[in-house]
Amino acid sequence: MFEDVRDLYQEVILDRGRHPRHAQRLDAFDATAKGDNPMCGDRVQVWVKHNDQGAVSDVGFEARGCAISIASADLMAEAAIGHTATTLRKLSADFAQLVTSGDCPDCAGLETLQPLSGVSEFPSRVKCATLPWHALLSAIDAEPGHG
């Protein structure tokens, strides 16, 4: 019956939506921020830890929301590790292009996020996928020395 939504709900999304690996606060963290979609009630909080070189070493989150937003937060938590603020800003912009247009031809490092590309066919769901990234960037921007 729902064959045509398999683009949106790929196995990895359903799996991550159900069993996210990073859905917890970090005990020790350098920054945290919340994201909020007033129109649908989705909320997320993201915690970030850095290593000495200023690259992200760990990300955790707590979210309430749909499968897309939880899966997106979880995949983001992994994708962010090892990156600096500058790279993450670029990654976030590329990701936004991916989920809006379904494609990001000149982008690197989006492989693990690719399963979310199907969101582009569901305009009202794009924000579910991008919300965790907004929270991540807010955390990083709010952090002294990482603006």
Binding site: F2, C40, G65
Partner: protein
């Protein structure tokens, strides 16, 4: 068709709503989102088109044929609305943009003009944001206390608590929904009014949902203010209604200033027009008033007894079909309920449910339904909501139920 009819020929009525023959990605549209906004019958479309094609001009101050006729048509809506609600007179009907503006009008004009700092406004845990935020703004601007009547787990008002909150007679105004847009609960409006008056409070009923499903009579309810919104009553967007007792409207200061609401203007001083015009500044929603007339005539012709009976049958059928679905929980179990059913499903967020249903051509709402405090009260972030109108069929509910079983399997 007339009021005494209690059985609707729904197949026939559906032909009055052109949009119902649309398909969504090849599947027939199953529109179960009428509580958000109802679809429009041919009669409403024709009335608006008729005005734009044949008889239109700005109203009230025009001495020419087009203006006179348009004024008659627009002011005719006031008569029809007064009759619809059982008001004492046409002067008690104020047109606004929607329910939200009607409540804001009362919050500003009655709230700041008549209520005194230190008095309280009493709302409930199951209000729509439109019946919460204006009172919060009044609280913050004018030193009014905001009290909240709790609800039971079944989703009914806690009547003992209600009375308790009135007891110290500090409540100057009660503002409570006549039917919940999330739980479907009809509140015991006549009893709420009687108690409010017993303790010296005025009462506003938010009839945004209630007025669609049953005949409302503000006099027999003994309410003081009643609001509803045209677009949920099969009318156009852009027009809503505030009914209030004439003596209240007389006593209230105006809300918006401008053309049409004045008696005379000088730079030093302006004096106000009579009610209801005092509250209607600027060019009103003329075409929308004309559309609302057609909507009211339409529901009157179908008959509220028949509408209420039809929707009652739909609710029973829906409860019977949805309740057994594994993992599905129905939110709210009021004794007295209208054509709105909220539910959640284990393992599937409401947004995901809505997206999957949409793929099957079924339109439901998902989210907090502009009732965040109610969501918190029920321990939820969101629900999916199916809502029914006079054009909804049992088959559509069957399609919903069958599809929900598939949704469940999909996310299992």
């Amino acid at each position: 068709m007339n009021d005494r009819m209690t059985h609707l020929d729904v197949a026939l009525l559906r032909r009055d709503f052109p949009i119902l023959s649309e398909t969504i990605r090849g599947k027939p549209l199953v529109f179960l989102d009428s509580a958000a906004s109802a679809q429009k019958p041919r009669a409403v479309i024709d009335a608006m088109v008729g005005a734009m094609e044949h008889q239109y001009a700005n109203i009230h101050r025009g001495l020419h044929w087009m203006s006179e006729r348009t004024t008659e048509a627009y002011e005719g809506t006031r008569d029809l609305t007064a009759t619809l609600l059982g008001a004492n007179s046409r002067e008690e009907i104020v047109f606004t943009r929607n329910s939200t503006e009607a409540i804001n009008l009362v919050a500003h004009s009655y709230g700041r003009g008549i209520l005194k700092p230190g008095q309280a406004v009493l709302i409930s845990e199951m209000e729509h944001h439109s019946n919460i935020v204006p009172w919060q703004m009044l609280r913050d601007a004018h030193g009014i206390e905001l009290r909240v009547c709790p609800i039971t787990d079944a989703g009914e008002l806690d009547m003992a608590a209600y009375e308790g909150l009135l007891e110290d007679r500090k409540v100057g105004l009660v503002a409570i929904t006549h039917m919940s847009n999330v739980l479907g609960t009809y509140t015991p409006a006549a009893r709420l009014c009687a108690l409010a008056h017993e303790y010296g409070a005025k009462i506003l009923l938010d009839g945004s949902q209630a007025v669609v499903h049953r005949r409302v009579d503000v006099k027999s309810l003994d309410a003081d203010f009643y609001v509803f919104t045209g677009h949920k009553l099969y009318g156009p967007t852009g027009i809503g209604v505030l009914w209030a007792r004439a003596e209240l409207l007389e006593a209230m200061p105006p809300f918006l200033g401008g053309g049409d609401m004045i008696s005379s203007v000088s730079f030093e001083h302006s004096s106000w027009a009579r009610i209801p015009h005092k509250f209607e500044a600027g060019t009103p929603a003329i075409l929308e008033g004309i559309g609302l007339s057609a909507a009211i005539k339409y529901v009157n012709a179908v008959g509220f007894d028949a509408i209420a009976a039809h929707e009652q049958a739909l609710v029973e059928h829906a409860l019977a079909r949805l309740s057994p679905i594994q993992g599905l929980s129905i939110i709210g179990h009021a004794q007295d309920r209208g054509g709105v059913i909220s539910f959640t499903m284990e393992g599937a967020h409401a947004h995901d449910i809505a997206t999957l249903l949409d793929r099957a051509g079924i339109a439901v709402r998902a989210g907090h339904h502009c009732a965040e405090p109610l969501m918190r009260r029920m321990g939820l972030d969101s629900t999916a909501r199916a809502s029914f109108a006079l054009y909804t069929t049992q088959e559509e509910i069957d399609i919903l139920a069958d599809t929900l079983i598939r949704v469940r399997e999909f996310f299992a």
